[in-house]
């Protein structure tokens, strides 16, 4: 029984220049406890898919269930079972770390005492304890990201959606974040659904990859299977594999430079 499954999930935006099919029909399944890398070129429909799966955007076609809850008929159930960390995070720069964590707990209907306790607990787990009384604007990029993730974990979701979680982080913070994601899965069995543009990240972190292009799934499998199948060899780089799948051919490297 997959924890996420979608069938023909689609979203068309009506614009002044006519309809735009951002997602044309995504079929995918995610197993419980899996770290799934969701890849695709810019504009492939990654974020739109994520926003549908987190109930932020109503699909215009198809269906999906998340942790057994139907997206269309039980959005509340989906919200209680999943956490979402958007690219932009989602904290008010003027508010303290503690207030954000407590408010988030209260949004998930914890009592004041429970929310305060959960805030302490999350701060311990995500190494934010010394920062609780700082304004969020005073955090470093890596600390901010950990806070964003703490907010998404407030209600101990079965599924965590991460939209480009390491964009803009320095290498050390990225490595910390990878450890955190693995720890979530190993210690809590959390299913992690993450998008990324960093192929080394997908290679190192994801158990399985789903690649979308132009609003549909174009390939899926473990990183090695995809390399073998599309990159020509198990030793192919994921970069070449990705380019082969999405039909973006890298610029020829042997061309004579126009000017030196």
């Amino acid at each position: 029984m997959p924890i996420i499954s979608t069938a023909g999930l689609a979203r068309t935006f009506q614009t002044k220049r006519g309809p735009v099919e951002a997602v044309r029909g995504v079929d995918l399944t995610v197993r419980a406890g899996e770290i799934l890398g969701f890849l695709g070129p810019n504009g492939a429909g990654k974020t739109t898919t994520l926003r549908m799966l987190t109930t932020l955007l109503a699909p215009t076609g198809g269906a999906a269930t998340v942790a057994g809850h139907d997206l269309a008929t039980d959005p509340e159930g989906v919200r209680l079972a999943s956490g979402y960390v958007a690219q932009s995070g989602g904290v008010d720069p003027q508010i303290s770390v503690r207030e954000e964590l407590v408010t988030q707990g209260r949004l998930y209907r914890l009592t004041k005492a429970q929310a305060a306790e959960r805030a302490e607990e999350l701060a311990r787990d995500l190494d934010l304890t010394g920062l609780l009384d700082r304004k969020t604007s005073a955090l470093s990029g890596g600390q901010r990201r950990r806070l964003d993730i703490a907010l998404g974990l407030t209600h101990r979701p079965k599924v965590l959606f991460l939209d480009e979680p390491t964009t803009g982080l320095d290498p050390a913070s990225r490595a910390d974040l990878w450890d955190l994601v693995r720890r979530l899965r190993d210690d809590h069995g959390t299913t992690v659904f993450l998008t990324t543009h960093y192929l080394d990240e997908a290679d190192a972190l994801a158990d399985r990859l789903v690649i979308v292009d132009k609003g549909v799934v174009v390939a899926e499998g473990t990183p090695s299977a995809l390399k073998l199948q599309h990159g020509g060899s198990i030793d192919a780089t994921l970069q070449d594999t990705f380019l082969a799948i999405t039909g973006r051919v890298p610029a020829p490297t042997d061309a004579t430079p126009v000017a030196v």
Binding site: L56, Y84, G89, V91, L107
Partner: protein, 249 residues
């Protein structure tokens, strides 16, 4: 659930307001300047109606405060949207109506507080009006704030930059103020302007408030004023909730 969620959101945004006390007082500045430098011009003019010129001007200034203040309420939510705060809250089970109402009630509290300050200043300038009338006036300010703030948030949810939001609101508030007779009663206006002003909902509010300020509570203007104010608030909250529920923002 709804009450608890609304209280939570209200508390969050009230603390936000209290962090910038200066901005809260700044809102009273424009109507206060009208009170100080425009009010005295009217004292000896025949404005019609029963009371002094202050009983005509102050209700208009209070609604002006609500009009300009609440119409811009959406500004902050555009900033919050860009920080991702709105979506972060919308993926939680929190009531969609509470996300709107908590903010709108904060705005209402702020503008009623500013209205109280303005009335106190007006009393110093020479306003004399029955207490019941003044309290009724605050109720109208509250209803106007609920209406305009809800619509402002609804519009802001559909707009992505403050630069697009400001001019839109300005283009709507300025004619609204002039066409409602907030500064001077429309009873002074030529027939065509008076007729035109009747399409403005605020016209009915200010007429009712002016009646309240001279102690006439059982008038046709009062009945229309209450109907329009309550109807507008109901409509605006309905529109706002719908946008917050769907919001492709």
């Amino acid at each position: 659930m709804l009450l608890q969620d609304t209280a939570l959101i209200f508390g969050r945004y009230l603390r936000q307001t209290l962090r910038s006390k200066f901005a809260m007082l700044f809102g009273v500045l424009m109507p206060l300047l009208y009170l100080l430098f425009f009010g005295p011009l009217l004292t000896d003019l025949p404005l019609g109606g029963g009371g002094s010129s202050w009983q005509v001007l102050v209700p208009g200034l209070l609604l002006q405060l609500g009009l300009f203040g609440a119409a811009f309420a959406g500004f902050m939510i555009i900033v919050e949207k860009n920080h991702g705060v709105v979506e972060r809250m919308r993926v939680t089970p929190v009531s969609r109506l509470a996300l709107l109402l908590g903010r709108v009630l904060r705005d209402t509290a702020v503008f009623v507080f500013q209205a109280v300050l303005l009335v106190l200043a007006a009393v110093v300038m020479g306003l004399r009006a029955p207490l019941a009338g003044i309290l009724i006036g605050f109720a109208f300010v509250a209803l106007l704030t609920v209406s305009l703030a809800s619509l402002s948030y609804a519009l802001a949810m559909r707009i992505s930059t403050p630069a697009a939001f400001g001019p839109t609101i300005n283009a709507l508030t300025m004619p609204s103020m002039l066409l409602s007779g907030l500064m001077l009663p429309m009873s002074l206006a030529p027939g065509w302007l008076d007729a035109l002003s009747h399409v403005m909902p605020f016209r009915y509010l200010v007429d009712a408030m002016r009646d309240a300020y001279v102690g006439s509570y059982a008038t046709a203007s009062m009945a229309y004023g209450v109907l329009v104010a309550v109807g507008l608030a109901g409509l605006a909250v309905t529109v706002g909730t719908r946008v917050f529920r769907e919001a492709g923002a």
